[in-house]
Symmetry: C2
Subunit: 531 residues, 2 copies
């Protein structure tokens, strides 16, 4: 068997069964080996950022790594933004970057570049396999390392891929037994001292906020946090951009920390203690002149209960320490009234809230335009929300691919801002090819609306109205982007809507028919009325 076959066999033996790929010549043996290892599902993407974003979405829904296959340094570069988001989401992922043959690198061929340096900026584990005999061990190590919720990057020279080596089972350590279970992200036990410290703080009666994140944003962690709040009066907030937040009817509700620093400061005001369970200490997304970076209120004491892994275990231990009552208050079932008339960001959100199907996966990259979505869907049937963890836009449409493949029985609703949609728009083609049940709603306001707001918030346009040359760089309206045509051009049926009734019709039709759909929801800019 050659190295590529050995790698594929080892990956599937260890629970990595999907590979999002955008291969080139140096990866051809990996591609050829797919026919010999049919347990590995190869999914073609037309751009590397789609592959990495898809693997992120997949990992968020399964807790297990997908593989990604990239072509040398430029391929890694194209995948980097969504690897950044994956790093911030603390998801497991195994990235295989094909490279020139070991003996070929010295010749500085046109595609030669420093892959290792770029990989290390996003990977918690990076290795270059230099001998075919090491490939199975390296693959196992990559998968194992990823369980800590990191991106593992294995750089695979072409000759290692094509050389004949030891069979995977022989080159592995003698005590190696293939893991029969998918390699889920590690569980970390609660730190008893940290639990006791948090319990003391909460029992003191001083105003406290419990900020949750990491693995605590699903049912068990949310339930534990809700018990703690009920028992102590502490307020619970969720990190601004959770990797995967369960919410909706029957799930304990949690408010997310606001994106805008002013609003987040308001949410945290008065807290004398801030207990972190899987979340980082709150910080402003960007710096603004004259404003603090840290959002911890002055004088507030910060306690770290748990890092992103083990937050649920720590919250459960803390809840048990504080109360024997295991009942939790959950969000009631409630749908917004169906709005009518011309669409706005808020009425669009209400339509989505009114129609969101049971068990949906809501991939949210609606940015400014999605301002009404959280409230409109709070009482919708239970669903998961995946958010833009790292702030690198172009994540949503790829992540929807991964979520749909990870959860084939669940409808994926991909909420997109028009600006961010254009970074990785070819994700639609893969959605069509794989016939994925993804309904994409483009909030089309014809602008980088967030930047119109930020232009003022950073003080760049405080003294005077922003000039036309500045505003032109934030405008997407000339020419108007026709997302229906773009979607149809990639095999996804599309429809443009301008009223709430049309959006309701289009969403109902999309939800009724499995497979990908795109709805361009034309909404007014929020910023243009505000500024």
């Amino acid at each position: 068997m050659n190295g590529a076959y050995s790698l594929l066999t080892t990956l599937v033996d260890h629970g990595v069964e999907v590979c999002f790929a955008n291969p080139g010549t140096s990866e051809m043996h990996f591609v050829a080996a797919l026919d010999a290892v049919p347990r590995m599902r190869g999914v073609l993407t037309l751009f590397e950022g789609v592959a990495t974003g898809a693997a992120d979405g997949y990992a968020r829904m399964t807790g297990t790594p997908a593989a990604v296959l990239l072509h040398l340094g430029p391929g890694l570069g194209n995948g980097l933004a969504n690897l950044h988001n994956a790093r911030r989401a603390h998801v497991p992922m195994v990235v295989v970057v094909g490279d020139h043959a070991t003996y070929h690198k010295q010749y500085d061929a046109p595609l030669e570049s420093d892959i290792d340096a770029v990989a290390r900026t996003v990977s918690g584990w990076t290795r270059r396999t230099l001998d075919c005999g090491d490939i199975a061990v390296d693959a196992v190590d990559a998968v194992t390392a990823s369980r800590a919720g990191i991106v593992s990057t294995l750089i695979l020279p072409a000759d290692v891929s094509w050389s004949d080596g030891e069979p995977a089972e022989r080159s592995l350590r003698s005590d190696h037994v293939p893991d029969p279970f998918p390699p889920e992200v590690e569980q970390v036990a609660a730190d008893e001292d940290a639990v006791r410290d948090a319990a003391d703080v909460l029992n003191s009666g001083a105003p406290a906020v419990l900020l949750i994140g990491g693995d605590a944003t699903r049912m068990p962690g949310l339930s534990a946090a809700a018990r703690i709040a009920e028992a102590t009066g502490a307020r619970v907030l969720c990190e601004t951009f959770p990797a995967r937040l369960q919410r909706g009817a029957g799930v304990p509700a949690v408010e997310r920390l606001a994106y805008f620093a002013e609003a987040a400061e308001e949410q945290l005001r008065g807290a004398e203690h801030l207990i972190l369970a899987g979340a980082a200490a709150p910080v402003s997304f960007f710096a603004y002149p004259g404003r603090a970076s840290s959002l911890v209120p002055p004088g507030c004491e910060v306690h770290t209960l748990a890092q992103h892994l083990g937050a649920t275990a720590a919250l459960e231990a803390l809840a048990d320490e504080l109360t024997s009552d295991t009942r939790v208050r959950v969000a009631p079932s409630a749908r917004p009234d169906m709005p009518t008339g011309h669409l706005t960001a808020f009425s669009a959100a209400a339509v989505i809230g009114a129609l969101l199907p049971e068990g949906a996966v809501l991939v949210d990259e609606s940015n400014t335009a999605g301002i009404g979505v959280a409230s409109a869907t709070a009482g919708a049937p239970a669903h998961d929300v995946l958010t833009l963890t790292g702030g690198a836009i172009g994540y949503g449409m790829p992540a929807a691919i991964g979520a749909a493949i990870a959860a084939p029985g669940r409808p994926v609703v991909s909420l997109q801002a028009d600006g961010s949609a254009m970074y990785t728009v070819s994700a639609l083609w893969t959605q069509a090819r794989e016939n994925l049940d993804v309904t994409t709603v483009i909030f089309a306001n014809g602008a980088y609306d967030i930047l119109r707001l930020e232009l003022h918030r950073v003080g760049a346009a405080n003294a005077e109205a922003p000039g036309p040359r500045a505003l032109q760089l934030l405008d997407l309206g000339s020419p108007t982007i026709d997302f229906v045509k773009i979607a149809e051009g990639m095999g996804v049926p599309g429809r443009r809507v301008t009223t709430a009734e049309e959006l309701a019709d289009a969403l109902s039709a999309a939800f009724a028919e499995p497979g990908p759909h795109l709805i361009e929801a034309v909404v007014p800019s929020l910023a243009s009325s505000a500024v």
Copy 2:
């Protein structure tokens, strides 16, 4: 004045007058300053790889740097592939990467990443400005450094951008005088010893090949090379992927070294001396099992006459050393006969050759499908060809933007393979917004055709026919990509053609009407008939 204004003023004072931008919050002061510095033309792109590719195309046509404005590490990542191509093209470019405020970095906000490490992999010069008072000096240094034909990257923290600092003219060194001329790539004088050595080799009568590249692929360098060939019988070849090759009627013709190693070995066979003038020693683009990486024939002696800068000067000195005859043989004017019937890669090339307008800039990323283009356009009116210097696909449509802005009076013809078109397809929107005179021809063969060939060439499918799961990863046909709809979705009129007559009609119409057009030329796969 704030740092952003100081930076913009300094850049335009030193000849950098176009900025291809995809900004975010941390770049808002730069954007706001555009209204105060109207000499700087801001061009919005919807994806960073479009901005970097456009700056590459601009620099190839002008010899001067454009600026690029990117948003933190993920923005740089998205721009990286085309920065890789620019590095291989040895073009000047000034990349400004906005970063978090200096005091904000310690908080590890969501978009925090190691920008410097990524930048250094493609930049010949990288600096982080930490004080507003340094920004003018840093900007001058960035522009100056870029003259060596490198990418300069200036990392600009948001607070440096928004702080009030010294006026640019005061913070610059006291002896600083703004350069009244655009900062063209440096000229390097000929190395007399190298010239004499090459002259001796050529006068010896032993079979010699002169491999030209770098700055020698325009009229002066080509003329000098032609004189040398005429005087000595040496064969002249051009590097496989020149940054900018002048060719066509009235220009000395030069054959390019072939992409496929087998063909390149054939071209170099028999050479006892290889003289490099601006080109690197020839190397196989990829490694193939059982084949050599170096394409230098066994026993052939390699002589370096000049690096990429100064190749023209060295060739001129060498020509003068060898002959006083300054006449050169140029390509005669000749057009292919207009073909008819169903379109093939070759008949499409013939139509292009028959109709190519005077003074065209041919941006060539047609890859496998463009196999017939070089021969079909050899006698077309004089034109420039920009090629895929670094092998990172997704360069062509962005580079066409930069070429059109650099050479507003010249028609740009952008030849695209369907696979590579999808990496940076939003370039079409910027072409529409700026109303650029770019005619894009998509060679639509529904496959990564090059990889179908490479799958065999690397031996991944030698023993047996490639399996269906492997071939599916090279297939773009399900669903079919409709480039006409995609183009129309971004404001570019499109037309699909399947016969030579239709292509001729569509090209004639596009050339007759300024502004962007896209023609989807449906051609059969070359590989599917070959494999």
